[in-house]
């Protein structure tokens, strides 16, 4: 052992004698010194930007209609008379761009004024804790604190219109100077920004540039050892050839270890001290990066042993990278342009027909004549293309909530997910309708002011949308086209009031918290809300000509996991993200039993006959539970990689897998009632039978970056939207096992073959 340790020790000695190492050390030190100038300073969130308002037309309408002595009315009274006039004349379908611009400017002026908080009196109960604390300071506050109080008062005065802003925020500084004006972050956002920046930095500067430099610098180490005159001296010693090579190989990593440890360790320390963000992910990225380097270095070393030249070693590493890149890119490209589009995502049984949507959100109907899927529900002129569509997909994944089928009115209903207004094609949620007699073309477009998480129909056929901001029902005509009001391409609200979502709960109902989930019990009409670990029943009560959902039973489940819910018969399923599945009485919320199911559910439903509960996870695992006999159901039909599931009206189960293939099983015996199996396209065949097998057996050095991404995440899957509390949102599974295992196998094979070559070779 002493001999091999001596080889490793000598490698460190060699590294430290290298001038390049010291040049890099100096450069890294310089970078760390520059980095240490970055910090954050406490700041206040003041002022108002366009995205701070949920819905500008709604805000204008509220200010127009507000009673003079209400907080909103008092606010309006402080506006210049011209703006007051414009607000008085405000109409949804008018030319309102100037009104919104003036309104924003005027609101910002009000927020800067000294007497805003005292003039716009808001009941103290409506004020946040932070605002109450600031009010307690009386007159002894500086202008910045006053502006902050004004903003909090504005949020309390218009709670449904102004987004709440966090209290403790910071602004980035460099050597004590603020970098951006009016740019603030709370600690959570700061951590996210730093983690994102670190991921990018690790990828470009460590994984790419660092590996390149390290490979070029270390390429001569092994060939130099195998030079005539050097190798025979070593081999004459009482050492094993293979272990000698392996010691030199791992010793050759000394250069990289020293530099990477200094860079990453230094960054970890500086970021921890300056930002109070002690990123374990950053520290753990060091061994992952070293593994990446070792992988490339194994190719370099093997080439160096055979050809004994550093240049050819570097060339072979480049070739290896290129081949891996081509294989990975070919797979990704095929997936991006063909395969993902043909991956089934959502199944919507519609009477005798079957609708299904692919991951891109393209809804298709099964044609029994051609035995293929045909596209329907096209967005027509509202369809986004190019960069906008890509941006939306990258931001939110599958673009809809639903669709669901409204049997009573023979139509499908889908709600688009909200996207930030400043994104191309971004805007609030809108509801679209498709009817079979119109070839399922998309119509409607009523806007939702909140971010809905669930859409369902009440037993009476009312469209309900639920989200942390409340439970809303739709009133009016859902199918009348409602075009968005756009300013510079930003969707700022609706021009029409043909139909709208209104609160379905009493006005004094507080907002719910995240993690949030909602479902409806079709037998009793109850809406079940899951809010931050607590279940609430909302019972429908007639109030004149409308139904109001009033709070009933509550139950604290003592968990903070995200959840999905479904009701079958009198059983309520709460499928928690950690795989803990709770079964409760749907009427009393009394606990019945707890079972184990797949983690991270993404879809849950109860069969219409009330006998089965089904769950599908983000990991493509299906779970079926027979309520009647109180046992989970196992069957090969649902044991593979399942992409989508749905119950039909007669309670059979439609199961979809990879290439838009679906099968309708009659329960409980799983006899096949119908199958929908379109022929594979050429590209799909190439992907399935050539590209995927090649990719599977090939090393995947590039995918080690996924492992680094995973280190900066808490979960193994990441919601594309960034909101991991929304289990229905598309999630990308960060597969760290496959790249680690396949790369480790490749490394072992390369090193084993090189050892075999070294042990048999005459030197």
């Amino acid at each position: 052992m002493r001999a091999y340790l001596a080889v490793i020790k000598d490698s460190f000695r060699e590294a430290f004698s290298s001038k390049i190492l010291w040049v890099l050390i100096v450069m890294i030190a310089l970078f760390l010194v520059l980095l240490s100038g970055l910090s954050v300073a406490p700041a206040e969130r003041t002022g108002l930007d366009f995205p701070d308002v949920f819905d500008w037309p709604e805000l204008a309408t509220r200010l127009r209609d507000a009673e003079a002595d209400s907080p909103a009315g008092k606010l309006r009274g402080r506006f210049p008379s011209e703006l007051q006039d414009n607000l008085r004349k405000f109409k949804l379908d008018g030319e309102n761009r100037r009104v919104f611009r003036d309104l924003r400017r005027q609101l910002n002026e009000q927020l800067d004024s000294d007497d805003f908080a005292t003039a716009v009196v808001v009941p103290e109960d409506n004020l946040s804790d932070e605002a109450r604390e600031l009010v307690g300071q009386g007159e002894n506050m500086d202008s910045k604190t006053r502006q902050r109080l004004n903003r909090l008062v504005l949020e309390a005065a218009l709670p449904n219109d102004i987004r709440p802003s966090p209290g403790e925020v910071m602004t980035p500084t460099y050597i004590g100077f603020e970098i951006f004006d009016d740019f603030t972050l709370d600690q959570k956002q700061l951590t996210q920004v730093i983690n994102t920046a670190l991921q990018v930095f690790i990828f470009f500067f460590v994984s790419v540039m660092g590996t390149l430099i390290a490979i070029v610098v270390t390429a001569p180490i092994v060939p130099r050892m195998f030079e005539p005159g050097a190798i025979d001296l070593l081999l004459s010693k009482p050492v094993s050839r293979s272990l000698l090579f392996l010691s030199k190989f791992f010793g050759g990593c000394a250069f990289t270890i020293v530099n990477a440890a200094f860079l990453i360790g230094g960054m970890w320390l500086i970021i921890g001290i300056r930002f109070d963000v002690w990123s374990n992910g950053l520290l753990l990225s060091l061994p992952v990066y070293l593994f990446l380097f070792v992988l490339y270095y194994s190719v370099s070393a093997a080439t160096g042993v055979v050809f004994r030249g550093p240049i050819i070693s570097v060339v072979m590493v480049g070739l290896f990278w290129f081949v891996c890149f081509v294989v990975g890119t070919a797979k990704d490209t095929a997936e991006q342009f063909e395969i993902n589009g043909s991956r089934i995502h959502t199944i919507v049984p519609v009477d005798d027909a079957l609708l299904a949507s692919n991951s891109a959100g393209d809804l298709q109907i099964w044609s029994t004549e051609s035995e293929t899927w045909e596209r329907v529900f096209d967005p027509g002129s509202e369809r986004l293309g190019g960069v906008a569509a890509m941006a939306i997909r990258a931001q939110q994944g599958f673009p809809f909530l639903g669709p669901i089928y409204d049997r009573r009115k023979q139509r499908i209903i889908a709600i688009t997910k909200p996207t930030p207004v400043f994104m191309p094609g971004g805007g609030p949620s809108r509801m679209y309708i498709g009817r079979p007699d119109d070839n399922w073309s998309r119509r409607g477009g009523a806007m939702l002011r909140m971010s809905p998480r669930s859409i369902f129909l009440s037993p009476e056929g009312e469209i309900l949308a639920a989200g942390p901001a409340g439970l809303q029902r739709f009133t009016g005509d859902a199918e009348t086209p409602q075009r968005p009001f756009r300013v510079f391409g930003l969707d700022l609200g609706s021009r029409s009031d043909a139909g709208r979502f209104v609160e379905a709960t009493p006005e004094e109902m507080p907002r719910w918290n995240s993690p949030f989930a909602a479902t409806i019990d079709q037998n009793r009409g109850h809406v079940v809300i899951y809010s931050d670990g607590t279940l609430s029943l909302l019972s429908p009560e007639k109030n004149g000509d409308r139904v109001v959902y009033t709070p009933g039973a509550n139950r604290d489940l003592e968990t903070d996991e995200a959840a999905l819910m479904a009701v079958a018969g009198n059983t309520l399923l709460v499928a928690l993200a950690d795989g803990d599945y709770r079964l409760l009485d749907a009427t009393t919320l009394e606990a019945k039993t707890t079972l184990e199911g797949p983690e991270k559910p993404r879809w849950a439903a109860g069969s219409p006959d009330g006998r089965f509960l089904a769950v599908l996870s983000h990991g493509s695992s299906a779970w079926l539970y027979d309520v009647a006999n109180g046992q989970p159901v196992t069957n090969t039909a649902i044991s593979g990689e399942i992409r989508a599931m749905a119950f039909t009206d007669n309670s059979s189960l439609v199961v979809g897998d990879l290439f838009m293939r679906a099968t309708n099983y009659k329960l409980p015996d799983f006899s096949v009632e119908a199958s929908y199996d379109p022929p594979l396209s050429t590209l799909q065949s190439v992907y399935r039978y050539a590209l995927l097998p090649i990719y599977t057996v090939f090393p995947k050095p590039g995918e080690l970056n996924n492992v680094i991404t995973r280190l900066f995440q808490e979960d193994s899957t990441v919601a594309i939207s960034g909101n991991n509390d929304d289990l229905q949102a598309d999630q990308v599974e960060i597969d760290i096992q496959t790249p680690l295992i396949s790369n480790a196998i490749f490394l072992i094979i390369v090193l084993a073959l090189t050892c075999l070559y070294v042990s048999r070779k005459d030197f």
């Binding site: 002493r2 001999a3 340790l5 001596a6 080889v7 020790k9 000598d10 000695r13 060699e14 004698s17 290298s18 130099r224 030079e227 005539p228 005159g229 050097a230 190798i231 025979d232 001296l233 070593l234 081999l235 004459s236 010693k237 009482p238 050492v239 094993s240 048999r760 005459d762 030197f763």
Partner: protein, 339 residues
């Protein structure tokens, strides 16, 4: 260079008792290299080589370039794998780690990593030989002094001359007190003074009971230090044995004779045997005659005949070949046979 006047380092090793115990045994050893894209071209480096080296001997291996000398050494050390035959080192099949543990090797044109100093190089190679750093540090001052590098221990080897590198190589070969030293061209690049000092070191090592297997082009040195030599040519051993035997190329009991004669040239020519090498006239009636091979009876008979014929014998000299002369004759002879 100072050769320490110390008793044998390896006291456990018998100085004379085990001297004839074979340390290196090679029997019918063959090595064929394969070359070319499909390894179809064969190069026979060793053809049934057999030799034996006893404990405490200095054995010299001679041969022109490409004779297979380095291949033989590398097979003994396990650096090259044999094709057929047998090779044993210190009683173990050649290449075994246990055997290599007791061998010090100085390869021809060895390269010591550029980042090392004399001291760290010895530490590195000492550890590779299984020595602790403490042991190496204890030994290295003596060794560096022995090879004349006592002032260069802290200097990085890139600043060393070729001769200094050779001396450092020799020091690393001796570092772990091996029983056998295999030295491939140890005086390569070393000046005449240095060569003499290295010879001195070899003699000291021999006195300490070490076995030395020497491979060199410098035949005079081999002749000066070696007990036994082998001449290798095109993978075959042409001659092996003590230096006196190898340099004696005549038949058994015969030797080369030179006579200075005075008398009639025709009479002298008529009396000379068939093995006469040359007959040169050095004066009006003086002749120098060389006879390639003649035993004692032949000499007596020739002297009698010459005296009877009235020829005066001025001098009679028995000639002896140098190792170089013997080597060249053997190699040229073998080349002629080949052609």
């Amino acid at each position: 260079m100072t050769v320490p006047n110390t008793p044998p380092v390896n006291a456990a090793l018998p100085d004379t008792a085990g001297r004839h115990e074979p340390v290196i045994q090679v029997s019918d050893l063959q090595k064929t290299y394969r070359d070319g894209w499909f390894r179809r071209r064969k190069i026979q480096a060793l053809r049934k080589v057999s030799l034996e080296v006893g404990r405490g001997e200095i054995f010299g291996l001679l041969g022109p370039n490409g004779a297979g000398k380095t291949t033989l050494i590398k097979i003994l050390l396990g650096i090259v794998h044999k094709t057929a035959g047998e090779a044993r080192l210190l009683g173990q099949p050649a290449g075994r780690r246990i055997g290599r543990k007791r061998v010090g090797y100085l390869p021809e044109g060895h390269r010591i990593p550029r980042h090392l100093t004399g001291n760290t190089a010895l530490e590195y190679y000492g550890s590779l030989s299984g020595m602790s750093v403490a042991d190496t540090r204890r030994r290295r001052a003596e060794l560096l002094d022995m090879v004349g590098l006592s002032d260069w221990g802290r200097t990085v080897v890139t600043k060393y001359s070729k001769g200094m590198l050779q001396r450092l190589g020799l020091a690393q070969a001796m570092l772990h007190e091996p029983d056998v030293l295999v030295l491939d061209e140890p005086t390569d690049g070393v000046d005449p003074v240095g060569r003499s000092e290295i010879r001195q070191v070899l003699n000291v090592l021999k006195d300490r009971g070490k076995t030395i297997f020497l491979n060199s082009h410098l035949l005079q040195e081999i002749e000066l230090v070696c007990d036994q030599v082998a001449i290798l040519f095109q993978g075959e051993v042409l001659k092996v044995g003590p230096v006196e035997e190898v340099t004696d190329l005549t038949e058994a009991g015969s030797s080369e004779i030179t006579l200075e004669l005075e008398g009639d040239g025709e009479t002298i020519a008529g009396l000379l045997p068939e093995t006469v090498g040359s007959r040169d006239q050095t004066g009006e009636t003086r002749w120098r005659v060389t006879i390639a091979s003649l035993n004692q009876d032949g000499i007596d008979s020739l002297v009698d005949q010459l005296r009877t014929a009235g020829i005066s014998i001025a001098t009679i000299t028995r000639q002896k070949l140098t190792l170089e002369e013997a080597f060249l004759r053997l190699v040229r002879g073998a080349s002629g046979d080949e052609s």
